[in-house]
């Protein structure tokens, strides 16, 4: 497996990405658009893009992922995609009848200079229907920035402000699974906070089995709530990469103030979320949440000796990786390698800040944004780790180097149920803790001498 990876030293590379730790913006834009009810995500580009994106989302969520395409031809790529968009919009309202079509661009439509604003302004739409858009050229950012661009697109195009505040908290959950969003909502409910979460893919990408197929499943943020976002009291953006641009858009457009927090992964990550909710609601932390925290700390103590000083490599999306980094540090593990493929956002500096907080020397942790699995593999060969943490894209390396892998984040293409089980909140941390401890202890049992096998650990 992966015989082509150099084993002697880490090779300098120029101009060749190998085994990418990211994918392109449009897939994130589709995921975000699926999180608003009654919206048809639409890819303005070649038909292949949307086929890949739907396949990719389906492989992770194990759910249908609906999206349409402008199906560019040679002609469109020469004369522009305006005619294709016009036909597509007409057909989509005729056949699928969504409330809103959420268009995102692709590398092709951006490169040929399609001006979506003027295309869309010229469209005649059925009464009450809307077409919104965001720019997501595939040669900029990653799937994470695509998600944030589409989330901001909803705010830019749909959010309105009246004279009357809703008093609601606007929560942007970040590029996380529906299971995570559900968990975040539990906390909001525990504080009895009136909120709007957007995007919200619960009951869309984890829709329960009913024997029916719904083109627009019952979940997703109601459009009426999206439209009233301008009247929100405050915004909490979870995850700087995936959520801040949307919070920013609402601030610029309707002057709604916001706080940016990391994803609520691990103890401190969740503490920050809980404190922010407490502050917004001006209420003390409810006892049930306090107890969740207490049970997490209790369990972290129970297993701490099995996790202590274990070396971990973490990869995935930046918001998720930073959350996981903090959690492994809380567990006394050593984050030996921390990487993301998503460019920008000062990732390394943020890693360093967290390392400093836990007293870990920068030399003990190799960290890099815009890395790929080929580079991570070479690093790990030079100085191995005990555990890999992140998407299933680690899989080949796990096999090649015989290192156990705990799957979390996006994408997980080769296992089931992950999108339904949270890794955020205290319960999510407990789940992560269990997966990590089980994996390391299973490994110990599998590799130890017969005489060392213990019933009680």
């Amino acid at each position: 497996m992966l015989d082509a990876t150099p084993r002697d030293s880490v090779m300098e590379r120029k101009g060749l990405v190998s085994n990418p730790c990211k994918t392109c913006q449009p897939v994130g834009a589709i995921y975000a658009a699926l999180g608003v009810h009654g919206v048809m995500p639409h890819s303005h580009g070649s038909q292949g893009c949307v086929a890949f994106h739907r396949m990719f989302l389906t492989r992770h969520f194990k759910e249908p992922a609906m999206a349409s395409t402008s199906a560019f031809t040679e002609g469109a790529s020469v004369f522009g995609g305006g005619a294709n968009l016009k036909t597509a919009v007409k057909n989509i309202f005729d056949i699928y009848n969504p409330e809103v079509i959420a268009v995102h661009t692709t590398c092709l439509s951006e490169t040929i200079g399609d001006d979506l604003h003027s295309f869309i302004s010229a469209l005649e739409l059925p009464k009450g229907k809307r077409v919104i858009y965001c720019n997501t050229p595939s040669y900029v950012g990653s799937h994470v920035t695509g998600f944030s661009s589409m989330a901001a697109g909803f705010v830019n195009h749909l959010a309105e402000k009246s004279n009357e505040t809703t008093g609601k908290l606007f929560v942007i959950p970040g590029f996380v699974n529906p299971g995570d969003m559900r968990e975040m909502k539990l906390y909001l409910d525990a504080f009895d906070i009136d909120y709007t979460m957007m995007p919200d893919t619960t009951d869309v990408m984890d829709a329960p089995m009913t024997g029916n197929f719904e083109l627009f499943p019952k979940g997703g943020t109601p459009l009426a709530e999206v439209k009233r976002l301008g009247d929100a009291a405050h915004t909490i953006a979870l995850g700087e990469w995936a959520s801040e641009p949307c919070a920013n858009a609402l601030k610029r457009k309707h002057d709604v103030n916001f706080d940016v927090l990391g994803l609520p992964i691990g103890l401190a990550g969740t503490d920050a979320y809980v404190m922010a909710l407490s502050k917004f609601s001006a209420k003390p932390v409810p006892r049930e949440i306090d107890n969740l925290r207490g049970r997490l700390v209790d369990s972290m103590l129970d297993v701490h000796q099995y996790l202590s000083a274990k070396r971990v490599a973490i990869a995935g999306d930046p918001d998720t990786v930073l959350g996981l980094l903090q959690f492994v540090l809380e567990c006394g593990m050593i984050p030996a390698y921390v990487g993301t493929g998503t460019p920008g956002g000062n990732f390394e500096a943020k890693v360093d800040t967290i390392l400093e907080k836990y007293g870990v020397a920068q030399d003990d942790c190799w960290r890099k944004s815009e890395t790929d699995y080929f580079e991570l593999h070479q690093r790990i060969i030079q100085n191995p780790v005990d555990l890999l943490l992140g998407p299933s894209l680690w899989k080949q390396i796990a096999k090649a180097e015989d290192i156990p892998l705990v799957r979390c984040g996006f994408p997980i293409l080769d296992r089931y149920i992950h999108p339904l089980i949270p890794i955020v909140g205290y319960s999510g941390a407990l789940h992560l803790l269990q997966m990590i401890a089980d994996t390391l202890m299973d490994r110990q049992d599998a590799l130890c001498e017969d005489q060392d096998l213990e019933f009680v650990m």
Partner: protein
């Protein structure tokens, strides 16, 4: 005059109840001789939710299984990440093809051109991996920004004295089948067009099998036991050296005609190698194909041996098929696969199990394929090209399908509708070819249709 489907099936109201695009109606017909012929091989309709991928995808899936080739995607990252180890093709040697290599074009490349970056990527590939052949896939924007990929490849060939073959596959230049043709051209560019002296001709090439789940190994073992040599698979488990021997084959056998018929025709014209179409799915087609190969090679001993071999295998399978038939008889199947040949084999295979096919669709079937399909199925069976998700839903529900055979995007759709599923695409769980495949297929169909979980839906 041709009769419409509605009149033919007597289900006029239900069929027309859900709006359908006029363009799409031409691509939907029904079994028997009376429905209209199927419009196929066209671009997807803008706004439709096509399940079909692009030109690049077609080229990539055909060439990807060449195990020691270096596949560089020249474009933004998405094209590369979505096709990383995409096929489930198994290798008996090199695993270079399981990597994902990309120039990861960014906004600066779009402005200033990506030729230099591509040249650096090729140099990097040669110095690190020493591949025998490099395929460079130019996706949507490489051509649009004016990168001269051919010149870069030509210069690289001279610089490094290896083969560096451009595959100009912008997604907008047609649909998936166009990519198949490009892949065939790339293979011809690799193996050359000089005919091998016929006197030395020996053995066969297997075209259009990609060794998913090791299926080609099963077929090769059968052929070996019958005394028939295989020169190379094209492209399943092939390597550069074996492919270069392809011109010396006596016969080409073509399984996935959708992807490989153009190459077979070129090899017949340029290299003087005749071809026959085969399929190794199901008892009937596996047996017929083996006998046809033996007959085409013209050795009466081998023909006799093959007939005895097939009869032996059929006798072995009879009690197994009988057992499954008792549990499956009377069920209804829906089929949505990539190429026509597989649909044809599957209809027969379902018939062997007492299952009637009620819907058949393909992504890239030809007019001839559809004629054969319509002659094989019942009059009530819906036949359609490049189906959309909603069409699949509609016809499966209307026709009361118990199981769908398809690929990744169709699986959750089927489950949502309470319909069982079998992946006959890249994510098949075990080999479905040859006699052992008949057993695996029956087992899987039975496991899904008769799963206890359906009782709770």
């Amino acid at each position: 005059m041709t009769r419409t489907i509605a009149a033919h099936t007597g289900k006029a109201t239900s069929l027309m109840a859900v709006p359908m695009l006029d363009e799409r109606k031409k691509s939907i017909s029904c079994g028997g001789g009376s429905g209209h012929s199927i419009a196929c091989g066209k671009e997807s309709t803008a706004g439709a939710m096509s399940q079909r991928a692009c030109v690049f995808c077609g080229a990539r899936v055909v060439l990807n299984p060449i195990t020691d080739a270096f596949h560089i995607i020249h474009g933004p990252i998405g094209c590369s990440s979505y096709t990383w180890d995409i096929r489930g093709s198994l290798t008996s040697g090199n695993d270079l093809f399981r990597h994902s290599f990309c120039t990861d074009m960014n906004d600066m490349d779009v402005v200033f051109g990506g030729e230099k970056k591509l040249a650096r990527a090729i140099d990097q590939a040669v110095s690190t991996h020493h591949p025998k052949v490099i395929f460079v896939y130019a996706t949507c924007i490489a051509g649009v920004i004016g990168d001269d990929v051919e010149s870069v490849c030509k210069a690289a060939e001279q610089r490094h004295q290896i083969r560096c073959i451009p595959v100009q596959a912008p997604g907008f230049s047609g649909h998936k089948a166009q990519g198949y043709r490009l892949a065939g051209d790339a293979i011809m560019a690799l193996i050359g067009t000089r005919p091998f002296p016929r006197a030395k001709a020996h053995g066969i090439n297997i075209l259009g099998d990609f060794n998913l789940a090791g299926e080609q190994w099963i077929v090769k073992n059968y052929l070996k036991s019958l005394g028939i040599d295989v020169v190379t698979g094209i492209t399943g488990d092939s390597n550069c050296a074996e492919l270069m021997q392809a011109p010396q084959a006596q016969l080409n056998v073509v399984q996935c005609a959708g992807s490989m018929i153009a190459l077979a025709r070129r090899m017949e014209a340029d290299l003087n190698i005749p071809y026959i179409k085969v399929s190794f799915y199901g008892i009937e087609d596996t047996s017929t194909s083996l006998v046809h190969i033996a007959q085409a090679l013209g050795n009466p001993d081998i023909v006799d041996r093959t007939k005895r071999f097939c009869q032996f295998q059929i006798n072995q399978l009879k009690p197994i098929v009988k057992r499954y038939k008792s549990q499956l008889s009377g069920k209804k199947a829906a089929i949505f696969v990539g190429g026509g040949f597989k649909a044809i084999s599957l209809i027969k295979q379902f018939r062997e199990l007492g299952i009637q096919t009620v819907m058949v669709g393909t992504q890239t079937g030809s007019a001839e394929d559809y004629d054969v399909i319509r002659s094989l199925v019942h009059d009530d069976c819906v036949v359609l090209d490049d189906a959309t998700a909603t069409e699949l839903e509609k016809f499966m529900t209307e026709r009361g399908a118990d199981i769908l055979v398809g690929g990744v995007k169709e699986r959750p759709l089927a489950y949502k509708l309470g319909v069982a599923f079998c992946d006959h695409n890249h994510e098949r769980k075990h080999p479905l070819a040859g006699y052992v495949g008949v057993r695996n297929f029956a087992e899987e169909i039975n496991a899904s249709i008769n799963s206890p979980v359906w009782a709770y839906v």
